[in-house]
Amino acid sequence: MTDQGPLIPRNREIHPNPYDWHYKTSVSRSPSLPLLSMESTPSEETGPRFGHSTLGALDNNLILNWTKGEASAVGERILMHGRVMDENGRPVPHTLVEIWQANAGGRYRHIKDTYFAPLDPNFGGCGRTITDENGNYEFLTIRPGAYPWPNRGNDWRPMHIHISVFGHSFGQRLITQMYFEGDPLIARCPIANTIKDRGQLDRLVAPLDMAKARPMDFLAYKFDIVLRGRRQTMFENKIEGM
């Protein structure tokens, strides 16, 4: 194993505030004491790997994966694509990307979701893929609907897709959400606005990408993801036993 430096410490300023009065559930689910900051160790620098054998042929096609290809989900057909990189600008190849989302009416296939928009019998709502050697990934899905949620008196979630990424180190683990260019609900969403730096929130908004849109078939949105990188200088200590 090549000797790599520790993970670059997380810049918590770009991340959401753990405690945010406007997102009510965060109030009792955020630590009140400071985190213990420490340089990473092999426990954080290593991580699980998942191979292509994990995946089924339709896993990255949410339009078809619930019905095993029998019938298509209802909604605006979109390609969600992008690249997973690290903070050093290097691609993160062969890493698992998982997504989940509401259907075109804004309803999740979940016992806890009681919104009266109907379930789509042809839509499950999850998918997964593994990035290629250049860190690229693609999903075919439908654009999820916006939906109301119990928070303040009248809060609505903007259209969004949840994304989970592993990277190659357990310390790179990240879950985030992709929003859609032009959605006026983003600026009003208490969850989106847990990110206090508007410029950072903009990094979660996927632009329409007509170069990838397929005529008479699907539109495309691009969503690149950056995971933590590792410090690379000529002066890193060798790790004992590594």
């Binding site: 810049n11 959401p16 009792s28 900051s37 989940w100 990240l174 985030t176 990094r203």
Partner: protein, 199 residues
């Protein structure tokens, strides 16, 4: 003006939300059949070397309520202190597990092999531990912590040594409740708040 940096910034986190189970453990969430099985059902397979241990606990919010919707992931070394992928690692220890709080009781269970000590930075040795990552609705960025074991020698562990308020060390130590049985509760906030890591 100065030269520009070429480094990128990490993508900001967002909460995993109430429906994280759909994406991460769809069979558990009621979407059975979409995948053959949920990812990371067990960190070990038959024949894993070492002591099999079961860790049970709950994730409590700041009001003392055991959260029913928490999703946890664990990552650990094998009994000899090797991580999957390293030379000589136990082929029956993937080291990764994904598990959820029970929908009715809020209790989680992790059955695994007790890890061995692993190297730290600068020649240090870390006491046996399991890394945890916790996400849920209301958690805006995943919470990292570690499980250590009451019946191991934790005295020289570099991370535990960094905890200034010594009583807080106990929040990272699983209590032995029986043969191979441990209890590890996680408190997000308030009295007995677990030490969370920025690592």
């Amino acid at each position: 003006m100065v030269q520009s940096l070429e480094t990128l910034m990490e993508t900001p986190s967002q909460t995993a939300g109430p429906y994280v189970h759909i994406g991460c453990i769809p069979t558990f969430a009621g979407l059975g059949g979409i995948y053959p099985e949920d990812l990371g059902l067990s960190p070990i397979s038959d024949g894993a070397k070492g002591e099999i241990v079961t860790i049970t606990g709950s994730v409590f919010d700041g009001t003392g309520w055991a959260m029913r919707d928490a999703l946890l992931e664990s990552w650990q070394a094998d009994a000899a202190g090797k991580f999957a992928g390293q030379d000589g690692a136990d082929p029956n220890v993937s080291g990764f597990c994904r598990f959820a709080a029970d929908k009715d009781t809020g209790e989680f269970t992790l059955r695994t092999v007790k890890p061995g000590p692993v190297p730290g930075r600068g020649g240090a040795v870390q006491a046996p531990h399991i890394s945890l990552w916790i996400v849920a609705r209301g958690i805006n960025i995943g919470l990292n912590t570690r499980v250590y074991f009451e019946d191991e020698d934790n005295s020289a562990d570099p991370l535990l040594a960094r905890i200034e308020q010594r009583p807080r060390v106990e929040t990272l130590i699983a209590k032995r409740t029986g043969d191979g049985q441990y209890r590890f509760d996680i408190r997000l906030q308030g009295e007995g708040e677990t030490v969370f890591l920025d690592i």
